[in-house]
Symmetry: C2
Subunit: 231 residues, 2 copies
DNA sequence: ATAATACACGAACATACGTTCGATGTCAAG
DNA sequence: CTTGACATCGAACGTATGTTCGTGTATTAT
């Protein structure tokens, strides 16, 4: 018995895989056999079928028999193990509504804020948040300046927040301190009528506020993302 | 003329949307009209068609005419603006290969490491990385302890890294300092034969290493993710 | 020379599938 | 009571779609 097929992908395999990724990305559903053929210069549906069967054997795709567009991408050409099945409900976009700087209050979106019309957003995998966390009111802010370093948050970091009406002890919140004209990110504790704002950096001391009225909690931090760029 | 339909979704709309999300999530492709009917107790394909047309008018889905399974989810029942079209190529999983602690070298995966067999991974939106960044060699580590605070990285943070063979000035890297038996995360600079390791925290001083042989660069940091949990 | 396998293809076929049509029922307003 | 809008449904139809079959060529091992 003579196996002449290369261990691995031929040119047509690669072309088909690339097209599958592109089509699904652009359309939200897989292509048909005929659409694959039309876009990979394969004139016969049986040849496309032949290659799809091989891609299935090599665990790049899964197929459902006798189902139109019944192709599920399992692995991309780059080799990434794609969780196609997870994608639809497990990634979402959080609108970036502005910047967080020390000298201004956090720009919390108002209740009539239209999340759908935002031009910039940051994509987040759902699994980064607890399952019970609602995702629809989240907003993102980009940190500007070094004023948040006691929160272990750097210039340029993305902070994902949610508006809250009631803060619980131990939550990481953005607070506006009216007596200092300052926004800060701290762990919040209400202790015997006083507010303790605890930095994330364990080597730093907390702020004690005797008059809780001076503390305006503007939102809770649920995620911080730092994209590394060279300095 | 009398409009009796509620502004918004009826019970059948909601059932259909939920099923669309679930089916696509589990199968990687949308259901057919008949499959929707079978799973929402609607016995007629024309009724399903009737409701799908309304969901399209309300911008929950987009449809392709005369295309089997030509349904694209645009918005979920929760209201999230889902980028169905982006999902297939724009989210991937990075395996979590261990922990990064100060007193041990970084557990960099070996070159025969099987990324596909990892049981735990962290899901990342592709758009969080630069377009040219390759994604297949990335690995994730969970930070253990307070030793990375000068890198603005907290206990419990997830650090996404890649192996590198050659470090460029200004890159954030994990280095093992053999004379100190310590791993640290720093911006790397090679200056006149000496290595300067610059903390991310701008208030802290760099480490100057006269003998570069003592510095083992173990990987480059490309992303840091901090999931907020209460303290 | 022969056999086996891979690769390529067109054609035919049956089923999957979406759309359309006509009919019926309910409800609220006039 | 009538009318119009909305909801519901079965049936029919035509097209979209995947699978199968038979054929041909090229290559390699026996």
């Amino acid at each position: 018995m003579m196996a002449r097929r290369k261990a691995g992908l031929g040119e047509r395999h690669k072309k088909i895989l690339k097209f599958l990724e592109k089509f699904q990305s652009e359309n939200g559903f897989p292509p048909s056999i005929r659409e694959i053929g039309e876009n990979t210069k394969i004139s016969s549906t049986s040849v496309v079928n032949y290659y799809l069967n091989q891609l299935e054997e090599m665990n790049f795709i899964e197929r459902e028999s006798n189902v139109s567009r019944g192709i599920r991408l399992v692995r991309t050409l780059e080799g990434n193990l794609m969780q196609t099945a997870k994608a639809i409900t497990d990634m979402f976009t959080v609108p970036v509504v502005g910047r967080i700087v020390a000298g201004e209050p956090v720009p919390v979106p108002s209740s009539d804020f239209n999340y759908y019309d935002q031009e910039t957003g940051i994509d987040i995998a759902r699994s980064l948040l607890p399952p019970r966390e609602k995702t629809e009111d989240l907003f993102a802010l980009e940190v500007q300046g070094d004023s948040m370093i006691d929160a272990m948050v750097n210039d340029g970091d993305i902070v994902i927040m949610r508006p809250i009406t009631q803060v619980e002890n131990g939550e990481m919140v953005a607070v506006w301190l009216s007596d200092r004209d300052e926004t800060t990110l701290k762990y919040f504790f209400n202790e015997n009528g006083k507010v303790r704002l605890q930095p994330a950096n364990p080597t730093m001391k907390p702020i004690i506020i005797d008059n809780p009225a001076q503390v305006k909690v503007q939102g809770k931090v649920v995620l911080v993302i730092r994209r590394m760029e060279n300095v």
